[in-house]
Symmetry: D2
Subunit: 337 residues, 4 copies
């Protein structure tokens, strides 16, 4: 951390701040410049409290240097992590593909989806049973009935099941049926829920919140890792910007940036990331060419009649075509899919 | 809702979409323009499903017309709501002021805060006992001990207590001690929590998420109202933008815009909205001059040593000065403070 | 500037970077931490080249410390500047008010506007003769004819004329008729134009670009100041964010933040800042309560038939009402209006 | 355009608005819903004035339906345009690659760059002679001397020259030396400049402004096309968002979205789009896999000592490696590079 003093800060103010830095267990180096003095604070402690120094006398600003996350950091574990959950493997040379409908609607729907996406090359099945919906008047999911349908589809196809959990009290129930617990974007900073999945034996797919910084995403992962669960996949699903021609803006530079900062694998969600089915194919290939470790894609037998998210969902033949193209791009990236 | 067809959409495609509109229980009006055809769909149903029409054949886009919230809408209840919770009244001619520390730290701290902010003119006490923190390594709050300290401060000063609840399973506990349940920005779309406070007898202060649209904020309020709790105050606390000289960007036009769309009162949070104590005073007066029904301000006896958010916190004498100025601006706006 | 080395950077890499820092004419202080080494580079040179160090071997990132602007800086000139141009005075205890139509349309229109806004209390007249328009098919302004009409309105009312200049080759022409040259938001980084107005004897109203940082705004001002023209007013007119219920998001914390960083006065534009006439009144009062040195407001005799920007324009009686309220808020802020 | 009336708008207000719509030369269809009335206005006129209707009596909002650009529209010209300028061909099956330094610095530098990027597979040379710089104290370019060095490098290698023009008065001069005139992001809405390049015989590379919507970008292109120059390439170079780990956020969904809306080819700039050389390679491959018609990449013999933008610039061997990978991805996309 660097404490930047205002021009004209008095020696007493500088001395005061040096004591504050030392009170945090850090070592203070005072550097007197021609215009202003800065105090470099070094040490191994990382915590969220340091910014309080900014209200100190004569302080212009406080500039953090170390990232506040530890276990997620690539500095700590240089080799990339590979997460395996049933048929799904994400990380390393293999690109995992999670596909299926936004919501589980009926037994036939989810089973036909599972068979179709498996045939096209997907390695896991997605489907929502607990649906967080912006409006209280929208379809909220089939809950445990939906989970049972997912498990049945897994029994029939062998595909690992990825499904969302929206509250800490549901983690045990969802863990009974699912292979991977998805934390949705709206819950990325629901810390009680992060702590609960941190205690679960299931792998976790943690989606980036639409206005979360990368540091906040990694600190959310840190909650899960710190809770004892090492199997965390990160998911870029688009951020909120001024752009309105897409539902969210999909920032694919997140992929190489995360891969530099963390050992956790990175999955891209082109369905939410664009919000329009006609943009999904290009963002699937672009995601792989950006180096993504996996994709998660919404697929439905009849998107026009889907109970949720139909406008961003591929039908079976569109998905098959996308997968064929993705395999060629993955090969060009020396990846297997 | 307006379904805009592509130029060149065939009559069969238009006919298909008319049937889809009617299947949603709406009436379809086909308007043939010189370049394209649009279908106006009218009716009283409001739901979140309509966008699925966008994946229909020949459709260019779907433009919603009605806002999807109902109970929160000013169209439904034209007169503004006044929310009263103990000493706090928000809405109408009176400006409510909620002040206190970010976190409850000790009995002395919270009691001295309560006395100081009351003396300066605050009408409620804030203080966090359950703290959602970005990092798992930061101070997480005193939990029930903190709630007890808040209740003791209320007993001593008569100030209503406003404090955050972070999980549905804590709602009963927090309701035992608090007058107003605060839903933090990160939990604005934690629907399980919204449903739980919807069943509580306590008033609710609902903070806007940093990337939530106004429509999403009102739909979050709708969850609480729909659950049976009519006492909802909305809080603008800043949004995430490209600006980095402030922690968030405080968009004060939210105040008159919300007042046009909803009858619920609007509170402004200049502490989180700026993230720097030297900007708080100006945003307090500006908030009132924008027409805010209330303010929520972080105040601490010694911000430099606060366990959280010290950089955006006023000390007692700063707060007193801010309140004196605010009273003059409120009078200029024909409000009482 | 702080050069942060990666954990594991070699002594040779650190030594290499020290030499690079010294080659820039700065002094290098090496601070060896437990996890990483940082190099603090101090000196009085400010230039835009330093970030190139980031591509050096073993470098994690480069963190700037000093702001790169000089003449605009409050560190250099602690007392606020007051800019006077004819009847307009901005800065200090007086709030200047610039009002008038988006575009000059006819002699009668601009004259009636000038008379109406003067009567309501405005101290300068705005009106566009050269109009930068998003679409090539929109009305582009009356050009020199419009300038003549503005000058005639000044002759009739005594109000100073504020009007936009869009190209360096027009600066002399516009300077002939105008008291204040406005640089529009789209041209904030049109450096050739900034240099040209830097050589003009007229005062300049420099609008912030919709995605410009405060540092970029101050560096744009620096171009004008560095060119020899000290009479620069800054204007906050809204930034582009994810919000779509307003045309732009008006971040009023810009006002106290700028006043801390620069001696130049700050004007707020609630018309462009909201894009809806029903939000303008609240943002005028809020702007003054945020401490603004001036307002610029769009006023037209018949907004519904304005050739541009009618949706964000006040009519005469609305403006009169706004001004009456603003005077009361200004008084509460110990300002004169 | 759809004029949405407020609930409770009177028949007289509706009638008034019908007349306003007709006064714009459009046909009005009144649709009476259960909650509100909407007026659909159809016709072939496209102009920027319609929003003024929003200030009409009883109007809730005005929703545009037709895009305001014409000549750039894919509706008008369904087949994609291929732009050829000397050795550079962009559009169709071939991916063009423009590479070279941010600034032309010396004859040796630009010549060695030209030879290196040609050898690696680039089809055009970039290099700035007129440099728009955020700070007046930064290096501003070699101006005509730089143009001459670029022309000499073209003579030596056969590579087409792409270089920026920053002011209308320079268009003739730059056109003398360059094959493609680049309009920088800061000048995307410098309409005088757009008109000037619209009259030039040279092709134009138009960069998207960092906060420009796609509609604004296409309207900027429309200025050039409308001026008589059909050879316009669009360039996505990143937008300004809350993300700070990259210089800009590179939204690659722009590529397929633009290709749906316009016939003009789309070039991606991963150097400005990320601002960090270690992210450029992944965004080059991702750009191609998103379907881009071209790339523009900053390359310098010694990025650490570049006079500008060194932190986002590749050296020769990095660029060679990137190109080798890009060729494989292009082949996987059935493109030639």
């Amino acid at each position: 951390m660097i404490v930047v003093m205002k021009p004209g800060a008095t020696p007493a103010q500088v001395q005061h701040m040096v004591k504050q830095v030392e009170a945090l267990g850090l070592k203070a180096h005072v550097i007197v410049g021609t215009e202003r003095t800065v105090i470099a604070a070094v040490g191994s402690k990382r915590d969220g409290n340091k910014e309080s120094l900014e209200s100190g006398p004569g302080v212009a600003e406080v500039v953090p240097i170390s990232a506040p996350y530890k276990v997620a950091s690539r500095e700590l574990k240089p080799e990339p992590s590979v997460i395996v959950a049933g048929s799904l493997s994400v990380g390393g040379a293999k690109v995992g593909v999670i596909a299926g409908p936004c919501s589980v609607e009926t037994e036939e729907q989810i089973l036909s989806c599972a068979q179709a996406v498996k045939k096209a090359g997907a390695t896991a099945l997605r489907g929502g049973a607990f649906k967080p919906r912006t409006s209280p008047y929208s379809f909220q999911g089939l809950k445990e009935d939906g989970l049972k349908m997912l498990a049945a589809a897994r029994d029939a196809t062998g595909l690992a099941v990825v499904t969302e959990v929206v509250a800490s009290e549901d983690v045990d129930l969802v863990s009974k049926y699912a292979d991977v617990l998805q934390i949705g974007a709206r819950n990325m900073q629901n810390y009680r829920l992060l702590e609960a999945v941190g205690r679960s034996p299931r792998a976790v797919l943690l989606k980036r919140g639409p206005s979360a910084t990368i540091e906040e995403l990694l600190l959310a992962a840190e909650y899960i890792l710190d809770g004892g669960n090492p199997n965390v996949m990160l998911c870029e699903r688009g951020i909120r910007t001024f752009e309105s021609h897409t539902r969210f803006t999909l920032p694919l530079a997140t992929v190489p940036y995360l891969q530099k900062k963390t050992h956790l694998p990175v999955v891209v969600d082109p369905s939410h990331g664009t919000g329009h089915s006609y943009l999904v194919a290009a963002m699937c290939t672009a995601g792989i060419a950006a180096g993504a470790d996996g994709l998660i894609v919404e697929v439905h037998p009849d998107p026009e009649h889907a109970l949720s998210d139909g406008y961003q969902t591929l039908n079976f033949s569109e998905f098959e075509e996308v997968m064929a193209r993705c395999r060629r791009v993955a090969a060009a990236m020396d990846k297997v899919m």
